[in-house]
Assembly symmetry: C2
Homo-oligomer: 593 residues x 2
């Protein structure tokens, strides 16, 4: 099947005059999870992982993917004639090297420029220039041969009310224009769909867990254009676009419009796709999309709103915690049934829309896999021993949540208790940070990682990520990470109103996994001679399972923090509990000494 598809593609390559064709994983908007319409790489290779690039030449083909997928890719590519390229391993050529090695002087490399961002395309361009190999970014060759291709997502939109969003779109448009002026830009091309959702207070259901619509936008000095199929728009949004003079054009029309754009065009080359970029004739100003920063600093209405969302979510997860406590002993609870029950608790909260990502419900050694997803093959029954890690979140009209708790279902080992406590210390030390304005996540990260690093242990991932507002649960440009990785754009200065997760953990392969996660808001503290001090407000309220904690390993102020936190959990959550739950909650929130 794969061989036939490759053959069909090569026929199209021949017709179009390209000697190599690059097929990445992305959609047209650099979205984290892509709709099935965009699954060209999977269609052409059979490889189902979430990251990888397929390169097809006339006589061979190869697929690049990273360490997470080496085993899976090897198995899925078997019999496909596609060679597996293990990224990061010594001796593996880069995509550019492979193409340079195999193509002759003056060849043409084709790709759908909508699926490759400007930065990547320019990297190819620079490399290929050494052999006068040119780029052809204007053909979707897979589209020509993919007969039963799913259609583009087309869900109905809804207006995101200003009572949750805090600002009408005219205010936001003005803010964006102010930022444009600072860099002398007269127009700004926006292709990231969460940026567009924020700007126009527009939401939809194009992608699971990420309630936004596929669209493009163009903001100019005196006009704004939204590129989206008009029939998808809800009445309210349509009326508001009229009111605020926002022009609505067909989704695809942006590709024509940008060709004639004059003046200084602001382009974020890490976002904007290369087909758009290469077709620009105006003066290009490269820079970060200012919406990234505007959106990340939640306004006071958004903050008040998301505090409500987090109470609702806290009620759901706390009820789930009680339910676990009562039901694991029946022997009828599994990873998957627990996951379903949790969703039931969330769904019964008013304003719940959907989960903000696929729940991780991981028992014992399954939790050592950071991104485990329980399925029919792996599902196990929970017993009164060991730990269950549950990482989950909800999309509510009031905001987006993300929480992890590690539940102690019965006896655990000394080793488990030790790491449960140390990673609890990690969580607490970051949550109670106080710092001078100007710090980035990379300055604060060691507060969390320190207690584990002191024991030569590490969790091998970021400590936390930015969180959107009824938007993506992973959002730039803030987060906690110790390495400087410019492409990730997650080390911005921590500004008032930014929300990010605090989720250190310990993962021991084949044994257990522990993670403690709350969301935190950046707040202003004391301003004095030394500057503006900053700290966090905790946003998530669900008990941490005290059964995992050995207070002899903690400092006095860390224990105090935990007791204060549990006191607040009880105050905020108990009003929504029934009598039995309330008695239990009182107990699980009682202070440790």
């Amino acid at each position: 099947m794969i061989k036939n598809r490759l053959q069909a593609l090569r026929l199209e390559m021949e017709k179009t005059g390209v000697q190599a064709y690059i097929i990445p994983t992305s959609d047209f908007h650099e979205t984290e999870y892509v709709a099935s319409y965009f699954a060209c790489r999977k269609y052409m290779s059979g490889f189902t992982g979430s990251a990888g690039v397929l390169v097809v030449l006339m006589d061979k083909a190869a697929l690049w993917t990273d360490g997470r997928y080496f085993i899976q890719a090897a198995s899925e590519l078997e019999n496909s004639t596609i060679e597996l390229m293990k990224m990061g391993q010594e001796g593996t050529p880069s995509i550019e090297e492979y193409i340079l090695d195999n193509l002759s002087q003056g060849s043409v490399v084709g790709f759908d420029g909508r699926t490759i961002n400007t930065n990547d395309a320019r990297r190819y361009q620079n490399a290929f220039a050494t052999k006068e190999i040119s780029l052809e970014p204007n053909y979707d060759l897979v589209g020509r041969i993919w007969t039963d291709r799913p259609s583009l997502p087309n869900s109905k939109t809804f207006h995101y009310d200003v009572k949750y969003a805090g600002k009408e779109m005219d205010v936001k448009l003005n803010e964006v224009r102010e930022e444009m002026k600072k860099v002398y830009a007269t127009s700004h091309i926006i292709t990231k769909i969460d940026q567009i959702a924020w700007l126009f207070n527009l939401r939809a259901f194009d992608i699971p867990h990420f309630p936004v619509a596929l669209a493009y936008a163009l903001v100019e000095e005196n006009q704004a254009t939204l590129y989206i199929d008009n029939s998808r728009l809800d009445e309210e949004s349509r009326t508001l676009f009229n009111t605020y003079g926002v022009i609505v054009k067909a989704y695809d029309e942006i590709y024509e419009d940008v060709k004639s754009l004059q003046g200084n065009i602001l382009v974020d080359p890490s976002n904007v796709n290369s087909r758009i970029f290469f077709s620009l004739k105006g003066n290009i100003i490269e820079g970060r999309d200012p919406i990234i920063s505007l959106k990340a600093q939640k306004n006071d209405v958004e903050l008040a709103s998301t505090r409500l969302a987090h109470i609702k979510d806290g009620v759901a997860v706390t009820k789930f915690m009680y339910w676990l406590d009562q039901n694991v002993k029946t022997g009828n609870v599994s990873e998957m049934s627990a996951e379903a029950k949790l969703q039931e608790f969330r769904a019964s909260q008013e304003g719940y829309i959907e989960d903000s990502f696929s729940t991780i419900s991981a028992y014992k050694e399954h939790a050592a896999m950071m991104h485990y997803s329980s399925n029919e093959n792996t599902n196990v029954t929970l017993r009164e021993e060991g730990m269950l890690l549950v990482d989950s979140g909800g999309q509510y009209y009031e905001g987006t949540t993300d929480i992890t708790r590690t539940f102690v279902l019965g006896p655990i080992t000394e080793e488990e208790k030790y790491w449960f406590t140390l990673s609890m210390r990690s969580h607490i030390r970051l949550a109670k940070a106080n710092w001078l304005y100007g710090c980035r996540g990379l300055n604060l990260d060691i507060l969390a990682r320190g207690p584990l690093w002191d024991q030569n242990m590490d969790y091998q991932c970021g400590t936390g990520h930015g969180v959107g507002h009824l938007s993506s649960v992973h959002e730039a440009p803030n987060g906690f990470r110790w390495r400087i990785v410019p492409e990730r754009n997650d080390s911005a200065v921590l500004e008032y109103g930014m929300i990010q997760s605090d989720e250190p953990g310990v993962y021991v392969e084949g044994k257990f996994g522990i993670r403690h996660e709350n969301e935190l808001i950046v707040k202003k503290g004391v301003k004095n001679y030394y500057g503006q001090f900053m700290h966090f407000e905790v946003l998530t309220f669900v008990p941490f399972d005290k059964k995992g904690i050995d207070t002899s390993l903690m400092t006095k102020d860390e224990i105090e923090w935990l007791n204060d936190y549990h006191k607040e959990v009880f105050e905020k959550i108990s009003p929504f509990m029934n009598e039995d739950e309330k008695v239990w909650l009182k107990d699980v929130c009682s202070p440790l000494v």
Copy 2:
């Protein structure tokens, strides 16, 4: 006087055809402290501060300096007709703006390109291009009118023996050439005098506290040239230059040689002066001078050697601490006499060459000024109360030291004891850090700053700086700072063998100043599944004054660290104490509970 000098300079400006002349503070080598020969800005303005730029136009003149010097500069510039430009204050134009505002289209701006580095000169060039104003970097106009100018430093050199340096110059030249190859450079211009001192194992006494010689160097694929007056060279160095084929040319000759340099020339634009840069005709490769990193990672001979230097220094400072304890009560000890006594203790150590910087001996509120220097006008008698902060260091053949202790001379206030203890916690927490390889100072800084930030307090400077090896006491590219400041080049990844200070403090204006400083070596720790862990080895051994400490404010492991440290101080230092000193040392090193 200043007016006459300005008039004389303007005559020279007229002759040369320049309408503005820029006079910075630097020497030809971007040295931290400059010899008196280079004090052109002071000569022309009367301003004696360590930072500032004078710009002379035909009808007016202005001097830019920073907040440290506003009051001093205002007083020193009085009656000079030179306007004071307060950098960082709103409304103050930049040098570029001032020149652009005052000069007409097509004017010429002159300066001695040897005293302005490439980065700065290019910034001027870019700004001035908007008005077609050109640069003339080839005239030292102040030199023409400064009749009694001091001569260039001309001290005799000495060879720095491989038993201290660890590597012969041929080995170092090969290391540099390896780094050059990595960036395809065929030649490398070196103008920083500590880089040159390291490369050729050459030292001298051109600048107080910084035992190196003014020189330039050029490393090519098959030859190396040192630009220094041959008559200054000691016999041993001269012989070794012969042995290793190092060509010696006159100091100034580099300016001719670089003009004809072919091939790929590696230039560090933050170091190399603009007269050299502008005269290059070859292909320029910009990058950090690889010597900065090679030099910072001390080899095992240097490490062993500097450990010895630190024992000697520890003996001197510990003897001083005992002497203070015995003599303050006589009422005959002042800030300045204490400083002199400390130097006496250092000078009596074998291998001592000179102090590594001007000692700060600051009693009570004087210590709140971070860079206080006691003089006849400020000197005070020490009494049996309050605290004395002494920041000092030595240049020994074995290495360079830098240490601060805050001595408690008698009763101190609760406030003083509180901050003494908190800044002690800061010091300890950084010293006992354990981290994954790849961290920079900016990841670790909050370990020190955290306990103070938690109380909304900050010390408003870096936590520590890199330290040279019989070289500058302030050395790139490592240090502890939380802000990212690329120009400072002090946030490199912490590599094995790097040495840096750990010196947090608390400064309360008009009241007191506290600083606790040791030097630390970066070492490798456990290597496991998670990566290579790193930690520090403490290099400095002198008791911290326990009288300042309130253990109720410290954690158990911090007290443990301090007790372990004092145990080690006693073991290492007591063999060099007399009987009385030993009894006293036993007591001041006894454990706290």
